[in-house]
Structures are given as C-alpha cells and as structure tokens.
C-alpha cells in the first residue's frame, strides 16, 4: 500500500503531500526485520511464525495480514495488546515482551511491506451487491456510514488511525467486529468503530468481510478485463 501511495503522492503537488498524514515511520526497518524473523530474544517469538514470511498471515488460523499497514496504527495495536484495551491471549505476551524501540522498528518494517490494494477512480457500487454497497454507501437507515468513508477508497486505509481492510482475511475481520461487540477489543479512538460493529447485522458482517477479503482479486480481475478490451 505505502509504496503505491508514495508513488502516487510524489506525482501530486507538494502541498497535497503535506495534507495526507502519511508519515515516514520513525523506526529502523532492518532491525524490525531482524526481530520479525528471529524474535527479540526476550520473550517475543519471531512474528513470521504466525504472520508468515511476507506478513500476509494465515486465514485458516486467524492470523491477520499485517503487511503494509500504517506504522502508527501497528504500534498503537501493540501498545493496546500490552495494556489490555485490546485483548488477545496470543498477542498479549509478545506485545509485553517488546521494548518501545522494538515496537517502532517492527512497525516501520511491516509498513514497508507491500500490501495488495491501491485506490482506483470512483465507481458507483451495485445495489445488488450487499458487501460493495456497505463499503461504498453504508446502511444509513441503521446509522452505519459507508466503511470506506473511514477506511478509505477501496478500504486501503487512511492516515494513522484507520487501518486498511482490503485483502485482510475474512475470518480475522469477522473476529474483530465480534471482539468490539463483546468488549474484548475496546481500543478504537472515541469508539468510532464500536457503534458501527454493534449495529451491523450478522448477515452484513458476513457480506462485508467477504467483500474486503476478496477485493484485491476482484480489482485485479477488473484491471485485466480492461486491458484485454
């Protein structure tokens, strides 16, 4: 994500770049890679054990894809696990074992990995496609804004507070929405996400999580179609 984003930004005027909130991560990427592949020797296992060699995670096991996520978002999550505002028996001990420097380096490293989506030009959603409709238009009768209003065009993430959803494993996405509902995840700024998680129906949760999980493939398909035309 970040690579494509930076490339796009450098084409734009400097003034625009200043407004995007894309910060260059503070941590040391090489050091981050080292910990990610070997652990920190103080209790944090190699992240790659679960999140995979490329950070893409594992759908079946519920290990999220963390490649290309914003560094500030990543470091906030690691702090939140350590503090318990986001509860995970798996991540909590690792997060606690990391020093501040480890966290910054790991976050910089994972931000630097390629994520699968970038924004495309506006395209009207299909009312018959429930997931796509929720992502682009929401369900205002039930006070649910469009997910992309906060998570960005194509769910590619916005700045340092709104993570990318596109390409994330459906099982993980679903798990997080349920975690907000049952209170085990209680770390969103001003509860911006919680209310939305509460108002989604079971059926909407399935539709939207499957939509985002499949989005990169779908977009690639569309791009190919265009080229072949």
């Amino acid at each position: 994500m970040t690579k494509t984003m930076r490339a796009a930004l450098s084409l734009l005027a400097v003034t625009v770049a200043l407004n995007t909130g894309v910060a260059v991560a503070a941590g040391d990427t090489a050091r981050g890679e080292n910990i990610a592949t070997q652990g920190n020797g103080a209790g944090a296992l190699a992240c790659t054990t679960c999140h995979g060699p490329d950070g893409k995670g594992n759908a079946a096991a519920g290990f999220p894809d963390i490649a290309g996520l914003n560094a500030d978002y990543l470091s906030k999550q690691l702090h939140d696990y350590a503090e318990g505002t986001r509860k995970s028996p798996i991540m909590q001990p690792f997060a606690t074992a990391l020093t501040e420097d480890d966290i910054q380096s790991l976050s910089a490293y994972y931000q630097s990995l390629q994520s699968p989506v970038s924004a495309v030009a506006y395209r009207a959603p299909d009312p018959a496609n429930q997931g796509e409709w929720l992502a682009l238009r929401g369900d205002w009768d039930n006070l649910i804004p469009a997910c992309n209003q906060c998570h960005g065009p194509n769910g590619m993430g916005v700045g340092n507070s709104f993570p990318a959803l596109a390409g994330q494993h459906a099982s993980y996405l679903k798990g997080q929405i349920l975690a907000w509902r049952n209170g085990t995840r209680n770390n969103d700024p001003n509860h911006l996400m919680k209310g939305i998680a509460d108002r989604l129906s079971e059926q909407q949760i399935s539709a939207i999580t499957e939509y985002y999980a499949a989005l990169p493939e779908q977009l690639a398909g569309q791009a190919e179609e265009k080229e072949n035309r």
Binding site: T20, G21, Y122, P145, L192
Partner: protein, 319 residues
C-alpha cells in the same frame, strides 16, 4: 493558509490558454442564495425516497445515476466548476437522502421560490449554482448545462411521491436553539482536538488518500468559502449536532455543537466571491453578513476575511 502553490503553477500553465480563449465572467452572484432556509414544519419525518436498485433502466434512469454520481463525486468537476476539496455529499449525507442534512427530496418541490429580498423568483438551477459558487468555491455550470440537468433529474427521482410546493418535515438542517450564554470557541477548540482532529486534521485541512478526499477540509483553501451557508455558526451547529462525529450522530450537547461550530468557523477560508464586486471588507460584511458568523470579525488579533485569497478559484471560467 498555504496560498496553494499547486494553484499558482496550474495558473502559470493555463494562463496563456485563458488569454486566448474568450473570457467569460462567472455568473454574477448578486443574490444571497445561501440565505438561511426557513424552519422545516414540525412533525414526524415520514417521506422515504425510493431505493436505488429501483432506478429505471432507461435514459431517464441513466440521467438519474449520472446526477447521483456527480453529487457524491463532485470532485470530477475539480478545476472546472469546483475549486476546493468538497463533494455535495459532504454536507448532504447519504447522497442527499438523510433528513438531518438538508435532503434533496425536501428541496426539489420547493423551487421555484419567491425571494422577497430581491423581489425575484429563484429556480432550482439557480439554487444549485449558488452551492457551486459558495460551498464548492466554484464557478457554476451555466443554466441548461448537463451537470445541472443530471443533478436535477436525480433530485426529481429522489422526490418520487413527494408533494410539490409544500415544505416537508426534515427539510434543511436541524435548528439548534442558541445557548443562553452564547458560545465559547476556546471550549470548541478543546473538543475539536479530542473529537474531530482524528479525521479533519489538527489544521482543519482534512485528509486525502492517493489524491482522493476522504475527510473534507473544514477551513483553509480546500474548504467552503466565506459566502457558504455552512460558515454561519448556527447552521454549522445544527449540522454538527445531527451528523458529527461521523457515525455518532446526536452524541454532542447543543452547547458543544455551538462551541465547535464557532471554533471551526472562526478560521480563514477562501474569500466571499461577492467581495470581488464590493469596495471593501466592511461593505461586503454589511451587505451580506448580517448573521451569526465571523466574517470581518477580529479573532486572535486578526480580522477574518481581510485578504484577497480566493483559494484555487481563478474568478473566470475558461470556455
């Protein structure tokens, strides 16, 4: 305010083109289009616009969809009719369907409207042109332009079954009683940092991703200008209370909404375009700003609106 470097470079490139092409003046905005709407009638909001899956598959339907797309993605007219970072949907939420944000189905049947102030009848097209001039800091499409036709066709479809020439409950923005002790922009500043900056940015310039506006700018060059209805404190207070923070409607107290509106609207933004035909800031303020706003007022030692920065708007349309 960053007197847009990008605009200057654009201007430099397009200047020769402008000189060669016929210069046409932007429609002279002699009327106060952005005058506050009358209060909506009391009562339950019962009108429901049709569902988008029911837009017919014919040429009418195509025009409806075109109008909707222009309404939610008005940035496609950037540099032509739009000269800031706004889309119509930013202030008229859910593609102009939501009752608490001046819905288009409540507007459609109310035009043409007689305006005592200038003893004239104003059409819906003129109303839309006003929105382009002020909210979009733009140069309005001319009457009959396909942009206006498409938008009006979309509003016509949204209003299916709505009465004509009869105000509906839910029109305009919620009117919020002004707090007895007035408003406090310093308290507004504190609330802004806590509740709004995560999206709209500490400096009010909003956020973009890959060149697309996600969170609209609230002040500065990318924002609505000094003539826009949203720059009035009372109007913004009503909007904020009912719609912000996004996804948490009606979570703020009346007082908080007023304080926030005062804070947001006491920042610089592009000049009121009517200033171009006025002698001074004072005459512009006296003629057009007899309402709850900060135009021409002194805030933190500086007089607001005392500049000739029209944002990206060049003031003339290229043909």
């Amino acid at each position: 305010m960053n007197l847009c470097k990008s605009f200057l470079s654009v201007a430099a490139i397009s200047l020769p083109v402008l000189v060669v092409s016929t210069l046409v003046h932007a429609a002279e905005p002699e009327v106060d289009y952005q005058k506050q709407l009358p209060a909506a009638p009391e009562g339950q909001i019962t009108f429901e616009p049709p569902q988008e899956r029911d837009i017919p598959d014919n040429q009418y339907g195509d025009m409806v969809r075109k109008g909707r797309d222009l309404f939610v993605n008005t940035q496609q007219l950037r540099g032509k009719n739009v000269f800031n970072g706004q889309n119509c949907v930013n202030c008229h939420l859910d593609a102009g369907r939501i009752a608490s944000s001046a819905p288009m189905w409540a507007a459609f049947g109310m035009y043409p409207a007689y305006r005592g102030k200038n003893d004239k009848v104003n059409t819906l097209s003129e109303r839309l042109q006003g929105c382009f001039t002020y909210s979009m800091n733009g140069i309005p499409p001319e009457a009959g332009d396909e942009t206006l036709v498409a938008m009006e066709t979309y509003f016509h479809w949204l209003s299916t079954g709505a009465p004509i020439n009869q105000a509906l409950p839910g029109r305009g923005y919620t009117k919020l009683e002004k707090p007895e002790d007035g408003y406090d922009r310093e308290h507004g500043a504190k609330l802004y940092t806590e509740q709004c900056a995560v999206c709209h940015g500490d400096d009010g310039s909003g956020q973009e991703v890959a060149g697309q506006v996600v969170f609209p700018p609230l002040w500065g060059d990318g924002a609505y200008n000094w003539g826009a209805g949203m720059h009035r404190v009372n109007t913004a207070a009503g909007f904020i209370k009912a719609n912000m923070p996004l996804g948490k409607p009606d979570s703020l107290s009346n007082q908080d909404a007023w304080d926030l509106a005062a804070f947001v609207n006491s920042h610089e933004r592009p000049q009121d375009p009517r200033r171009r035909n006025q002698e001074s800031l004072d005459s512009t303020a006296n003629t057009f700003h007899n309402h709850d706003g900060f135009y021409g007022k002194e805030v933190e030692g500086k007089r607001l609106g005392d500049h000739d920065n029209y944002g990206e708007n060049p003031g003339v349309a290229s043909k």
